[in-house]
Amino acid sequence: MTRTVALFSLGGAPGVTLAAMALAAVWPGDTGAVLVEADASGGDIGTWRTLQTSPGLTDLAAALRHGADGGYGAGPAEHAQILPGGLPVCPAPASPDRADGAVRLLAQNTAALAAAPGPVTVLDLGRLAPRTATAHLAAQADTALLLAGDDLAQLRRVQESAAYLFETLPGLRTVITGGRGSTSEIAGAVGVPVWGRIPEDRAGAAFLRGEKGLRRPERRPLFRAAASLSHALVQDAASPREHTEVAV
């Protein structure tokens, strides 16, 4: 059973936070998912959605020091703010120094995070660097999604670091963001299995940032792809070792 899903990138800005938001927003099931913005370089959601600084990632990290049932209601949902529409979010502080401290603290208590009751946790880890708290969080997650933009520099970076990544992150899957069409060509060129693609969707991204209203957001390509990915993740958890190919 998938309890935690971590999304990260290696460089560039392929839209990790937007992909994590979309994934959490369409997560199947009644309980859905809670989004934890564990980006050590500072968070964006609080600014996009004009949220209070607390509750959020800092409160969650502090509470998890006492264990999953430390008497503080340790689950991420207990420290989340509910966005309009019902998505619970633990926003990260906007400044890197404070966000990095919270991420380090969170990485020291991954067991408590995994054992926390409530909905599935979607972790937005931002950019991953080796031997950091972020890398530790990605390794401890049930599923790690590497997001890479559909451009040469980012794909090259994925190709070069594939050996290290697949060694340290057993549940790693690669998702291409932007562009359109089949991913088999990319997979052949990079030499890494590509699990899915999240197409570019400016209106959907503006919707996620709270800049624009959409009448039927579930019909946008961004949310269709996210729904497809989350559905596949849930199915794969039911039948392990079989990576469901995602058709987007």
Binding site: G210, P217, E242, V246
Partner: protein
């Protein structure tokens, strides 16, 4: 829900799109802002309109120069001032200027005083029906010093038909109204114009010619 078929057939495409637990709230703020601005503008306009409505000043007619009783009002005799009129005050609004011109004054109106509806006689009715205006020169002592245009008076005519010594009570009185009083240049006498009943006009006029007339001031609407 455990998939027995783990083959390539497990290609997934969730047919009904799952609901998105998010709302985009961007443009709605602009909509509220525009609505707020519209409401503020409406309120400001309503306030301005209300203040303008509260300004109850209106144009009324006042006399331009001293106007004697009996004067037929012309356009040059009037001007318009803007003022707030309390209830129960008789004024003539500027919009009634057309009806005022050509009508006589029943009482004198001083320069700058407000023309009231009661100061105007009936249209083109000067002198009024059954009335005549006669002039008389009055020697000092034959009129009270308080004589004013508009005063109600009795005109006393001395009859001297008997001519003898014993007929001193030959005097007749006629009700009249003073139209104007003008002091004579030299001897302290005054020249008055009197509105009298038409039937009495000849009698009074004849007496005035012989200076056998005196004027007695009586209370308004009284008799002598």
């Amino acid at each position: 829900m455990v998939g027995t078929s783990t083959g390539p057939a497990s290609r997934t495409r969730p047919s009904p799109a799952p609901p998105v637990r998010l709302l985009g709230s961007g443009p709605r703020r602009w909509r509220w802002l525009v609505l707020g601005l519209a409401l503020a503008t409406t309120g400001a306009l309503a306030g301005v309109t209300a203040v303008e409505r509260l300004d109850q000043r209106q144009g009324v007619l006042v006399a331009e120069g001293d106007l004697p009783a009996g004067h037929v009002v012309g356009a040059g005799d009037l001007r318009v001032v803007r003022m707030t009129v309390a209830d129960g005050v008789s004024v003539i609004g500027e919009q009634e200027l057309e009806q005022v011109i050509g009508r006589p004054l029943t009482v004198p109106v001083a320069d700058g005083s407000v023309l009231s509806g009661t100061a105007l006689g009936p249209d083109a009715a000067y002198p009024a029906a059954e009335e005549a205006v006669v002039g008389a020169s009055l020697q000092p002592g034959r009129f009270p010093a308080s004589l004013q245009p508009g005063s109600a008076v009795s005109v006393v005519v001395f009859t001297e038909e008997a001519g003898g010594e014993g007929s001193q009570d030959g005097a007749e009185a006629y009700p009249a109204r003073v139209q104007s009083v003008e002091p004579s240049a030299t001897d302290g006498s005054v020249i008055v114009e009197l509105a009298v009943a038409a039937l009495d006009a000849a009698r009074i006029s004849a007496a005035a010619a012989t200076e056998s007339v005196a004027v007695v001031q009586v209370p308004p609407r009284g008799g002598a």
